[in-house]
């Protein structure tokens, strides 16, 4: 038995030290998905990179926090936060009422703008792409646009990433007229769109931009209006545990600061080639 005592005590010491440093030195562990470019992805060495990571790093600098990013599958990202595996989520996660029941959010650091992308070979009827639908408003015109979109997509197979607002939206608004396939990763959805297994997909503009710019993406195009509000919520925020009020305050302050000095907009231009952060 004696042989085991030494390593065990080392282990215990290491565990205790690990915990202590997480509290005192404020090493904030931030979870990201790593498969949602350009929001977040991993480079060839497996290190997280992307808009979320750059914003997170800038925020931590402002808030004088030591942060480290780690990847976590999207499916379990909220439970992982709540059981304490991580202290924050920055994964292009939009703020919704449903998520707010279990976690807290910082103020938004980016806006959402969802679009359908369809295979060009489908030959759907032309639809103006400058239209905008805000699900929170009840305007007659916007409902008309949504109805036209629904008619155009009738009977088609729509791909969405599972457990996202896009899935919730398609189920609620188009669920009775289209077939829905859910994917664990946007990459896989794109593959199936190229292969022709699905006819269209719904996701954020930022996600489509990377895909449409690629060689494979040439066979697909944006279709229909920009959809925001309602189910999609006010924007993208940092997910935090409800009891971590002080951390939320520090992040909110830092978001305001990088918004004010223009560095947030610069990061948006760097990763999205467009301003997705200003109203």
């Amino acid at each position: 038995m004696n042989r085991f005592k030494l390593p065990l005590s080392f282990l215990l010491a290491a565990l205790m030290f690990g915990q202590a440093s997480a509290q005192d030195g404020k090493t904030i562990r931030i979870a990201t998905e790593g498969a949602f470019p350009p929001w977040n992805s991993v480079d060839t060495s497996g290190k997280p990179q992307g808009f979320d990571i750059d914003v997170g790093t800038a925020l931590c600098q402002r808030a004088k926090l030591t942060c480290e990013f780690a990847t976590q599958a999207w499916d379990g990202i909220i439970p992982a936060l709540n059981v304490g595996k991580f202290d924050a989520i920055m994964a292009g996660m939009s703020i919704t009422e449903k998520r707010k029941q279990v976690i807290a959010f910082s103020k938004p650091y980016a806006l959402t703008s969802n679009y359908f992308v369809v295979r060009k070979s489908l030959g759907l009827a032309e639809m103006a792409s400058h239209l905008k639908v805000n699900l929170s408003s009840q305007a007659e015109e916007e409902r008309g646009i949504l109805q036209a979109l629904k008619d155009a997509l009738k009977g088609k197979i729509i791909g969405v990433q599972g457990s996202t607002n896009a899935e919730a939206f398609v189920r609620e608004y188009f669920g009775d007229t289209v077939e829905i396939r859910t994917y664990d990763k946007q990459d896989n959805l794109n593959l199936d769109l190229v292969a022709g297994r699905i006819d269209a997909g719904l996701a954020d503009y930022s996600v489509w931009k990377a895909f449409l710019g690629s060689k494979d993406g040439a066979m697909a195009a944006l279709y229909g209006p920009r959809i925001s509000g309602g189910l999609f919520g006010p924007g993208i925020g940092i997910g935090l545990r409800k009891q971590d009020k002080e951390l939320a305050e520090r992040f909110n302050g830092a978001i305001e600061a990088i918004e004010a000095d223009g560095s947030l907009k610069a990061l948006s231009l760097k990763w999205f080639g467009a301003d997705l952060v200003s109203n």
Partner: protein, 252 residues
């Protein structure tokens, strides 16, 4: 932990449960249909055929099922010539991709399990069959396959249970079977414990069923051995019975 929720989500998992049962049953059935001839060829003297089958079982047992599924689903979908071929109407559908991958994988394992069973058939039984003038086909049908299958049954039951659990991989190619449905509900309720416990209970139910059915099958197929045991315990009656049967045989 909310015990109420565990019961509440059970009906929501029903559809996924059906798909899991369907996928498992279909791939086990096709796998067995594949495995019986392959196992016989594998044990046959022809070395060319035997090596081809060794290659098949080696490839399918030597790579993860998830990789096989991805190769078939996402891999084949990348190739232009596959997409323009007639096979695309089948490979386009996630259900068929899953069924093909599961069947081939299950077939590979079952081939090796059956081969083990066939090899273990006592050579005396086969020689006896030969001595009685049975043809090869008759020998296979009456002696080798029944005896081999009985010997392989415990290992085969295990493989069927493994297939049931492996069917959860179908959720990675957009099929909403039991695990996929459970994950979807977790994402909506954010309560992983309760929902996955419900899913686990359903898997346990299925496993119980499979184990039970194979247990009965095993007892049924070993009937002749059980009778032999009974005889040893009740000698006096046994002798009387032997006398009767002996006299009956002589009588006509």
């Amino acid at each position: 932990m909310n015990l109420h929720l565990i019961v509440e989500v059970l009906p929501l998992l029903f559809e996924g449960m059906l798909l899991t049962a369907q996928l498992t049953a279909a791939s086990v059935a096709i796998g067995l249909l594949l495995a019986v001839p392959l196992a016989l060829l594998r044990t046959s003297p022809s070395s060319v055929l035997s090596y081809t089958i060794v290659l098949y079982t080696f490839v399918f047992r030597g790579t993860p099922l998830l990789v096989q599924l991805f190769l078939l689903y996402y891999g084949a979908g990348q190739l232009e010539w596959v997409r323009s071929s007639a096979a695309w109407s089948i490979l386009r559908e996630p259900y068929w991709c899953a069924l093909i991958a599961f069947s081939l994988n299950n077939g590979a394992y079952t081939t090796e399990i059956l081969r083990g069973g066939i090899r273990a058939v006592p050579s005396g039984e086969i020689e006896a069959a030969k001595a009685l003038g049975m043809s090869y086909a008759l020998r296979i049908r009456r002696i080798v396959l029944p005896a081999g299958f009985r010997l392989a049954l415990p290992a085969y039951a295990n493989e069927v249970v493994l297939m049931l659990k492996a069917s959860s991989l179908a959720s990675t190619i957009t099929l909403m079977e039991l695990t996929g449905t459970a994950r979807k509900i977790v994402a909506q309720t954010f309560s992983p414990y309760e929902v996955f416990i419900s899913a686990a209970l359903i898997y346990l139910g299925f496993t119980f069923l499979i184990v039970h059915v194979f247990g009965r099958l095993e007892r049924h197929m070993a009937k002749h051995q059980q009778r032999a045991k009974l005889k040893n315990h009740s000698r006096p009656r046994d002798r009387a019975a032997a006398k009767v049967s002996a006299s009956q045989k002589v009588a006509p």
